[in-house]
Subunit: 548 residues, 2 copies
Amino acid sequence: MKEHTALEEKRLEYIPKLPAILHDLRKLKTVNLKNSPGKASEISDFFPLTIGQTALTFTIDQDHEKTPLKVGVVLSGGQAAGGHNVITGLFDALKELHSKSQLFGFLNGPSGIVNNQTIELTEEILHSYRNQGGFDLIGAGRTKIETNEQFQGTLHTVKALDLDGIVIIGGDDSNTNAALLAEFFMKEGVRTRVIGVPKTIDGDLKNAYIDLSFGFDTAVKTYSGIIGNIARDSLSAKKYYFFIKLMGRSASHIALECALQTHANYTLIGEEINEEKATFQQITNRLSDVICRRAELSKHYGVILIPEGLIEFIPEFRTLIAELNEIKIDSELSKDERIQLAMRSISSESLECYKSLPRLIQEQLMLDRDPHGNVQVSKIETERLFIEAVKQELKRRKEKGEYTGSFNAQPHFCGYEGRSCLPSNFDSQYCYALGHVAALLIDANATGYMSCVKNLSRPIEEWQICGIPLTSMIHKEMRKGKLKPVIAKALVDLQGAPFQYFKEKRLQWEDEDDYRYPGPVQFFGPSEITDAVTLTLELSQNTEAILN
Amino acid sequence: MKEHTALEEKRLEYIPKLPAILHDLRKLKTVNLKNSPGKASEISDFFPLTIGQTALTFTIDQDHEKTPLKVGVVLSGGQAAGGHNVITGLFDALKELHSKSQLFGFLNGPSGIVNNQTIELTEEILHSYRNQGGFDLIGAGRTKIETNEQFQGTLHTVKALDLDGIVIIGGDDSNTNAALLAEFFMKEGVRTRVIGVPKTIDGDLKNAYIDLSFGFDTAVKTYSGIIGNIARDSLSAKKYYFFIKLMGRSASHIALECALQTHANYTLIGEEINEEKATFQQITNRLSDVICRRAELSKHYGVILIPEGLIEFIPEFRTLIAELNEIKIDSELSKDERIQLAMRSISSESLECYKSLPRLIQEQLMLDRDPHGNVQVSKIETERLFIEAVKQELKRRKEKGEYTGSFNAQPHFCGYEGRSCLPSNFDSQYCYALGHVAALLIDANATGYMSCVKNLSRPIEEWQICGIPLTSMIHKEMRKGKLKPVIAKALVDLQGAPFQYFKEKRLQWEDEDDYRYPGPVQFFGPSEITDAVTLTLELSQNTEAILN
């Protein structure tokens, strides 16, 4: 058994606070939520049984007699800080409801449901994962439950384990899958309820009922700490431009929050690029404009933030990637052969775009495909692409006498280090509450619901809880030529308070070195540090908040 | 005036503790240190006046009458966390010695001394830099004071400012420069004393009198936090090998400490490679062996640490780089032209090595040179070089049927984000004390000394202070065909306790996922977290320390 670091030890001892409503679970009674979301009839063919359910909440009543519950839990998709706390929250709530309740963990993602690979989760196992990062307790995976055979597998599993419920911790795709599974189990007449939990560092799973997906808070705080450090280094040495790519597809929530946190000199927001239909050269020109203006102020350094998903918002790249997606790549091909293959296979417009790219990016666009046969957009080093493009543009300007500065750039990627870190106090508590609500929904016999905790910018005592029908978030979309049920990713709202605040301030941040240094995530000490929520959340829920 | 984040605010309020000996500066009396280092006569031609000075320490005596001091301070070389605290420590000590003392900051490094570019540092200016990261208070620079003209410039400056002393905060080169400047001022008959302060995140400025250079503690804690996060992500998703390059030339202290902190699966130590004269292919084979053995355990993921300076310890690269250093590069040349130039200019052995490298690395070896005309070794992405080499080796093994796993690798670089961060409590206090000792040495009329604080693994009250003659650390070395005075970089001692401990444990870490997760640097909370010293220091000074 491995030993823990001193910080891990202290986090193991940490007891997440709970909203007041969750202080005595056995007293809670289900009631319908007054403002239930409307029924989306366009998807009724996919969800004939579970469509149109009413949103639920809970009120305090008298003590209720409870029966033991058997529940399975799965981690689906990429890591996000707090996953272990959803599980411990679920476990503690199930045990509070009835001491004979049992929790099973499906191993390595949804394939664990299909193949009935589980372990029973006991306090003995769980106690060394409380408030810890990662998904390593039971592992995660990206299997999508799609085929009839897979659905039959899950049916076999829930019958074999005699499950009252399954909790699926995942993003938009995984929660769509949860809705389909709920419908399927109801059709098959098994009692197993399916509850989703909103997870993704990208922050793109949100709506009127979901303030925020878990993991976003810890990821942006981790990245902002790093970006602040780099900004201060840039300002001290005064010789480098840092081009920092931030993990997160497709939305630019992470980039926007990091911009608000650090006041980086320039931040690209994919949604704005999309609205303006800005081309790659136009974006390059804008970055070069900022660099030239700063050069006139004798500043040959700075920090530029680039969201990972940006590239798909740039018109010519979207077309190029769509065309490259059509090419089958033999994994035995050499890099040269791949590039030749690409050049032979695409339209003349895309060829022009492809040829203009640095060799490294040409290679990255032709790496082996993801499991769905698509270009691995996350492997494209946009930060290096923009460095090269800006370098060329500045060279042109220098030749024309429009620029006399020096441009030295460093690429950086804020990525994997933000997904599996120790969850912030916020994510520890939020996830612990989400796990509780999932248990309550199963106990209330609800299926096809998302576990929701709202009012997150308020003190934790005031947080509210509810269950929202998954079908209310789903619409139909064309995917590979077929209409599929899909939870739309929530993009950055260009009219929303966070973006508007950013827009108001960004010109100032471009010229001045008005950097903000958030520092590393703190777990102890003054509550204005340890309990701070993200600025996105603060601004969304309280437009009168004042940011420094 | 910019506003601070909540964490910055709290750090501004933080008052670094001081060793007991520094509680009342006006009572201190200089005494000679019993075990003074010996005289290195080989450099007496460079230092006829300052050679052979005795090491100093201080004892508590009665209150002494003091006169005001005028002192200048400069930040030389790369950023390291705590630089601002050396300056505030120096300022507070000078003011305690005499309220009319003055401190001037030289702007943007040693060129500020040469050109007399200064600001007077007052409490009003300093109060927003206390315990903060970066060097942005006065900026830093890498100018070496070498020419007669530069020396005359410094003389002019110290006369114009009427300085009693200059404090040079820097690494090995900067402290050699400090020694030369002390000698020069003494020869010129000016009273200006020169004191060095040991700074470098690399940890390679240490000896019997210097436990540790400042900035190392914060940098390794920052990097270890990130590496721990990545290790946990690796263990959760179970699909990537992370090849992480760590900043730091030439020694592998940072890599060794991060290995001890995180139990990464494999860590290359440059000094060991050097001793074994291991070739690039041998290192690649070893990494591939680890990956193959883990594949047999069904583990297709892991974490590998690579020190930035490693490449210069590999025999064929050392030769190649030495040959490439001889090539003059016109900055107008294209990438292709640079590669062609390299291939035309080097020996057949080096050509073979160069040709075997991925194109990206070939380009990086032929980037514009550093100010001394050398290959910019820090720009060589060794993490990507090893990924490519291992990929090729595993392909060969796969073809021979010796390996059946899957190998997906992600490069990462821990670099600039570790230099300008908020200094850890340790670096905040250590630097604050170093600043105090520098003031005491100037007050004691000592010149050509290093400010030293010892016993750093003990409680802060017990820390000891001394001044060590810089000349005692200097020897002669050939540099570009000339014998030059040099402070040798302290390499990892392969017989020392930290490396021996690592050696004892590393086989276990290779196969097992015995990762340790240090988490982000904490400033508040339990002292076993906030006051922990590095494991290197702990093991060096207390071989009975037990590591988990």
